[in-house]
């Protein structure tokens, strides 16, 4: 881990919000979308302005019209379905809404720039970073290649990309997600635009990377005085970066307020609901100790020395030359009726662990369910195990077969395992539907007719059908809006109390993990670095990585003073290693009360 510099960023002076002159004014913006039942407005009569040096957040849940607003400003509405039906977008004296494509092309990038959510898709994978940055500069400024190259290096340095010059010849896939997003920001800011529209710029990134990118945006804004329109669903991000907030719902403005006022005294009930639904850190401290709540514990599943490795082939002969150590010798126990969480950033092996337990990837080591080793079972035995361990996936859109009715989907586990008579199965389906908060008349519909939250309920009903002892929930609420997320989490808790299910909860979201877990294990590069009860991990984190994860979570409170943050600029180490070069195994040490920490951290 190459921590090259550590700079204290505590107490950065925010520019006083209402000082700069307005740069961009949106007046009565209305966007219509043609759908199956005629056209309907996705943004209606929206007006706001953003000033120089100010960050305005457009916050809202999916379908609130926040992305459509940004696309409308950029003149990038998806044609022909969406169109600008009215209103003005004034950049200085120019009305962008009337400018036409040729005029917009001169404005885009030069005066109004945009960053998108997924840095991989907004960079061209077959061109080098250098070529893309240089072309972006040359598209707007008549300067020579050499000069443009210097400007590009300058821009990459400004976003704190180490060894900027050598990066110019790299392709996007050679960089990590955070680095790619920096390149995108560098391209956006290279021409010093008046307005930067950032559409969920950190949603696809890990929390620690997110914290760095947000800090970077703030610093650049201070230097350049750019007005930023930040589009996000995350109230934590809003609180950390914005000066002013507009809360959107169904294309309409619900509330516009200064950041402190909005979080302290929200005017509208919807804003209050939205803020209440945000999972917050620090809730585990005053919770009833787990043991009392659950009664006597019994080990349901224990993993001993679990490893999952994937071989990578290369060269002309397709020989195995490298190996991904996705999970490297981890051990843990899950008690009956408890929620055990695995947290960590992308690539840490948490999802692979889930897949190994769900029987989707081959593993080494032992998985013992109710005293029986799953590994040595024959086909029928493995199938029986599936009745006890069920899985809920991250993406409720992708994990349901779109060509089956939802009733058939929920019935399917019963069919596969031949549970009961066909009539009874149908009754059970209705029962399950009602239990997860859906209605019996919805069974004949197809998955695409439901919203994200409803689909995840269908997935839950499906997982419940066989009355499993353990449900593996892999990022199961990450794709949902906060208010929906809160309700799905409540449902999961209720079901746990009712049926006595244990959950293996996989998440990258520390706040969600803290709200739902009894015990937590933190994973890093395929190994567990710290494990303990929820209170032990969150109130008394011992491993530096755990601390970093917790500190990086955006706090939905504008007055929160962020502790000095270690700024990482290097690349994250990868779990891909040469053959015969296994990573060093960490040994966990008990620091009291079953709180296990990797030894390296205890020694320090």
């Amino acid at each position: 881990m190459s921590v090259s510099e550590a700079i204290s960023e505590a107490g950065t002076v925010m520019p006083a919000s209402q000082t700069g002159e307005p740069v961009l004014r949106v007046d009565g913006l209305t966007v219509m979308v043609d759908g199956e039942d005629g056209s309907r407005p996705v943004v209606s009569d929206l007006s706001f302005e953003v000033r120089r040096g100010e960050t305005l957040a457009l916050a809202g849940e999916s379908g609130s019209g926040k992305s459509m607003t940004s696309l409308a400003i950029m003149g990038l509405l998806p044609k022909p379905a969406a169109r600008l039906a009215g209103g003005r977008v004034l950049l200085g004296e120019t009305d962008l809404a009337r400018l036409g494509e040729a005029g917009m092309r001169r404005i885009r990038g030069d005066r109004v720039a945009m960053i998108f959510q997924e840095p991989m898709t907004s960079l061209n994978p077959v061109l080098t970073i250098g070529r893309q940055v240089i072309e972006a500069i040359q598209a707007h400024e008549p300067i020579g290649r050499r000069q443009a190259r210097e400007r590009a290096i300058e821009a990459l340095n400004a976003v704190r990309i180490p060894e900027a010059e050598s990066r110019l010849s790299q392709h996007p896939h050679e960089l990590s997600g955070g680095m790619r997003q920096r390149v995108v920001i560098a391209m956006a800011l290279a021409l010093k635009p008046d307005v930067l529209i950032a559409d969920e710029p950190t949603t696809a990134l890990d929390v620690t990377v997110q914290a760095q990118i947000l800090q970077l945006l703030k610093d650049l804004q201070r230097d350049l005085g750019t007005a930023i329109i930040l589009i996000t669903h995350d109230m934590g991000v809003v609180a950390e970066t914005a000066d002013r907030v507009i809360v959107l719902r169904n294309g309409k403005m619900v509330e516009e307020n200064a950041i402190d006022v909005l979080f302290a005294k929200p005017r509208e009930p919807y804003t209050r609901e939205l803020l209440a639904a945000v999972p917050r850190m620090g809730t585990s401290r005053d919770r009833i100790p787990d043991a009392e709540r659950r009664g006597a514990a019994k080990t349901l599943l224990s993993a001993h020395d679990l490893s999952v490795r994937f071989d990578l082939t290369g060269g002309v002969l397709g020989r195995v030359n490298r190996r991904v150590h996705a999970v490297e010798g981890i051990s843990f126990d899950i008690q009956a009726r408890e929620t055990f969480s695995l947290v960590g950033e992308s690539g840490c092996g948490k999802s692979t662990t889930a897949k190994a337990i769900a029987g989707l990837v081959p593993y080494e080591g032992d998985l013992i369910l109710d005293g029986r080793n799953i590994g040595g079972l024959d086909r029928a035995g493995r199938k029986r195990v599936r009745r006890d361990i069920q899985m809920i996936f991250q993406d409720p859109f992708a994990s349901l077969d779109s060509r089956m009715t939802v009733g058939d989907l929920v019935r399917e586990p019963l069919d596969i395992h031949d549970v009961g008579k066909p009539r009874e199965r149908n009754e059970r389906v209705v029962e399950l539907f009602e239990r997860v908060g859906l209605t019996a008349d919805q069974v004949r519909r197809y998955p695409h007719e439901f919203s994200g939250g409803q689909r995840q309920r269908i997935c839950i009903a499906r997982a419940l059908a066989l009355r499993p002892k353990l449900i593996v929930a892999d990022e199961s609420v990450s794709a949902l809006d906060v208010s929906v997320q809160a309700r799905v989490l409540d449902l999961l808790k209720e079901l746990q109390a009712e049926f006595g299910i244990a959950y293996l909860f996989i998440s990258h979201d520390m706040a969600v993990v803290e709200t739902i877990s009894d015990r937590v294990a933190v994973m890093y590069l395929g190994q567990i670095v710290e494990m303990g009860s929820c209170a032990q991990i969150f109130a008394d984190p011992r491993h530096p990585y755990t601390r970093r994860l917790i500190e990086a979570v955006p706090v939905p409170d504008p007055n929160y003073e962020r502790a000095p943050f270690i700024r990482m600029t290097g690349e994250i180490p990868t779990p891909v290693r040469k053959l015969n070069d296994p990573p060093e195994r960490l040994t966990l040490q008990d620091v009291g009360g079953g709180h296990l920490v990797a030894e390296e951290a205890v020694r320090v």
Partner: protein, 301 residues
């Protein structure tokens, strides 16, 4: 923008399209046109002997001019006559039998072989997949026409042999397409979800992967009908297809193509018949693809 439905209520029950695939097919004008053309051709093929006063091989004296040239369409011979004084309409009607059999049987067999190979290779991969796909690549690299000529030369040419030869040549592209599609479908998350429920390979293949392949199989199936009808025509032309005097739309065209300028109707009418039949199958295929996809339902009906 995707779902805007509220979390708690799914809204009122949407008006549904009429149930049943055929009923839904009949509610689409273009599909009705396609079905009508297929119906007319099938009717003509079955009832050919009763629909025309002439025999299929009758070389009529009054079917030629005194100079021995074929007659253009007239009151007696609705679509004109060919070089031997045979009635063109009669030959097209009888030729429909050949074309339909080739189009449906040959194409059906090649679809079946292609899908089976593609699905097996795409789902199981490993060495089974490698062997199957390398074999497919080999077949693809082999000149199809040459193979067809060899096969047809070994077996005595007859309608059924021609159909089989065409099937053996044509399955390759379908296998390739189905293979790619199966690979991408079996990597989707819902397949993992099925596996985690304990579903076996057979169940995943038949209940989950096959339904997703239906659109692509239908599109290739309907496109394939025109391809096979044309391939039969080519083979007939080379003398290894359907043997004269049995008419097929293909061999009518090829028999007469040199007289295209003098007697354009001899090429035009059988050509139009091939075009209409291929178009009809495509129209029906397109409609079927939309109808069988639940996410398309209600948008176009």
């Amino acid at each position: 923008m995707s779902a805007t439905t509220e979390e708690t209520s799914a809204g009122p029950v949407r008006r549904r399209a009429p149930r049943g695939t055929l009923r839904r097919l009949l509610s689409r004008p273009l599909a009705v046109v396609g079905l009508a053309i297929i119906g007319i051709v099938t009717f003509g093929a079955i009832f050919a002997p009763w629909l025309t006063p002439y025999g299929v091989d009758d070389q009529m004296f009054d079917g030629l001019t005194l100079q021995g040239a074929p007659l253009p369409p007239n009151g007696h011979f609705l679509l004109g006559t060919d070089l031997l004084g045979r009635d063109l309409l009669t030959r097209i009607l009888f030729g429909a039998r050949t074309s339909l059999i080739i189009g449906i049987v040959a194409n059906g067999v090649s679809l079946a072989i292609g899908s089976a190979v593609g699905i097996t290779a795409g789902y199981f991969r490993g060495w089974v997949g490698t062997i199957l796909m390398r074999f497919t690549d080999l077949m693809m690299a082999f000149p199809a026409l040459l193979l067809a000529i060899c096969l047809a030369a070994v077996f005595t040419p007859s309608l059924w042999i021609v159909a089989m030869v065409i099937a053996l040549v044509n399955w390759v592209q379908i296998a390739r397409v189905v293979y790619t599609e199966t690979r991408s479908i079996s990597e989707r998350e819902f397949v993992d979800a099925e596996r985690s429920l304990g579903a076996g390979s057979m169940r995943i293949l038949t209940k989950h992967i096959l339904p997703h392949l239906v659109p692509i199989i239908i599109v290739w199936g309907t496109l394939g009908i025109s391809v096979t009808v044309l391939l039969e025509a080519t083979l007939s032309y080379l003398g290894v297809g359907v043997q004269p005097p049995t008419p097929s739309w293909g061999n009518i065209i090829f028999e007469n193509q040199t007289y295209f300028q003098a007697a354009p109707w001899l090429v035009f009418f059988p050509g139009a018949a091939i075009l209409a039949l291929a178009l009809a199958f495509n129209l029906v295929g397109d409609a079927l693809r939309d109808i069988l996809d639940p996410t398309q339902r209600g948008i176009l009906s």
